[in-house]
Subunit: 232 residues, 2 copies
DNA sequence: TCATCCATCTTACCGGTGGTAAGATTTGGC
DNA sequence: GCCAAATCTTACCACCGGTAAGATGGATGA
């Protein structure tokens, strides 16, 4: 009596569940949906879901893993466009991170808030470490080019990740609603946060290169000449 | 049949609920506890709670507000110790922020993950903006002393808050378990993240002052002479 | 072609949760 | 001493995640 084409068996329930759950995550953020709701939207009894996912937690972890993969892909694409320039790559993956959070706030919260009861960090460890490969790659490149201060790789990664992640998290979680709503100001603030994060870990040489690059970029983009807050 | 001293009325149920709920938050983090559990620990029927808090959400918001107040107080104390030196104050409130997150990870997650269903950002707006007054104060002071780059106050606040918040969030949420567990390395990484965040928003003059201050501090603290990754 | 197997999906149920209703109990004020 | 208001109780509701046991139907092998 159910199913799209009058068939008893659903074509690909697992995929339908994933898609529907992701939509609900996008609507409400986090894990604030019920399996019964997912099942109802598909037109199926709720225990049917358990034939494909052992628990709601498993489904959430599945969605989180897929989200991390999309984040990784987004960073890869952004990075490829400026390949060869480590500092530009750093900026690119940072902006891609923010863009992901803004494009998929629900998924982002699902991945990083991870406050649902039985969140198992280990289950996502692989996906998460895979998602940080771009960051580590770029840091290694920039480091061996002498552009970064002489801190450890890991410390640098955490520092840069923190800055970008904090911005994304505050943006997505509505904790900086006081921030002027104007999209332009928002963009400028994001710009400043990312530029500052990079500027904070540069070596003296890195600072020279960074300034030159910024100057070139400023000359090139005529659209918003002094949009990036200049550094005296 | 209930109550500590055989009395029907509990002495101060509201306070007991707050304390018990906060303990459960500390144990499990976030909103992963039930009102029935809180009531059972106190030795009271669960609807009794509703005489003091209109809903679980109201209780959570209450706890979050109190947590923000503790965070604010912690920053105030840390700041007072180095009053008059804007960059030192900046560092102090950043470290206090991290210290709060590490001392009360459950409360921190409750405040900032805010993924429980009916989270009302507006309800905490006052407490939250009150909690950022130290940051804005210090930024204004540093800015009028010419120590910061010429970006807007708000953008600077978001930039610095993002860096510190991101670090706290990653630490508390277990997303950087790959980070060497050794406490010393952890401390060094935190140090680098905070120093870099500040370094990223300095003016040229600020950079000079910052370097001098760091040099003085390095000479003063003999305990860990080269613990702070040096900048070439 | 048919019988069988097995994944899939169903209905019915479990304990637990946030929240409400209505009544019992105690305290504080008159 | 009595009454009103606040507090706390028992009983209930709909909903949740999850399980059990049986119905269904598509694929496989003869």
């Amino acid at each position: 009596m159910s199913g799209a084409r009058g068939c008893y068996h659903h074509g690909d329930l697992a995929a339908a569940v994933r898609a529907t759950a992701l939509a609900l995550v996008a609507e409400r953020g986090g894990a604030n949906f019920s399996l019964r709701e997912v099942a109802a939207r598909i037109g199926v009894a709720h225990p049917a879901v358990y034939a494909h996912f052992p628990s709601k937690n498993a489904l959430l972890h599945d969605l989180a893993g897929a989200g991390l993969a999309r984040l990784h892909a987004r960073q890869g694409k952004a990075r490829a466009k400026v390949a060869g320039d480590p500092l530009a790559e750093l900026r690119a993956i940072g902006r891609a991170y923010i863009a992901f959070a803004e494009a998929e706030p629900g998924a982002y919260r699902l991945i990083f808030n991870s406050d649902f009861a039985d969140f198992d960090a280990a289950a996502l460890a692989d996906a998460r470490s895979a998602a940080t490969t771009h960051l580590y790659d770029v840091i290694r490149a920039a480091r061996s080019a002498g552009l970064l201060c002489d801190a450890g790789e890991e410390a640098l990664a955490v520092t840069l990740w923190s800055a970008v992640h904090g911005l994304a998290h505050l943006l997505v979680s509505g904790h900086i609603a006081e921030m002027p709503a104007a999209a332009a100001a928002r963009e400028l603030t994001i710009e400043l946060a990312i530029e500052s994060a990079i500027a904070g870990v540069l070596s003296t040489k890195g600072r020279r290169v960074f300034a030159a690059r910024t100057a070139r970029a400023t000359r090139a983009t005529r659209a918003a000449p002094r949009s990036i807050p200049t550094r005296r």
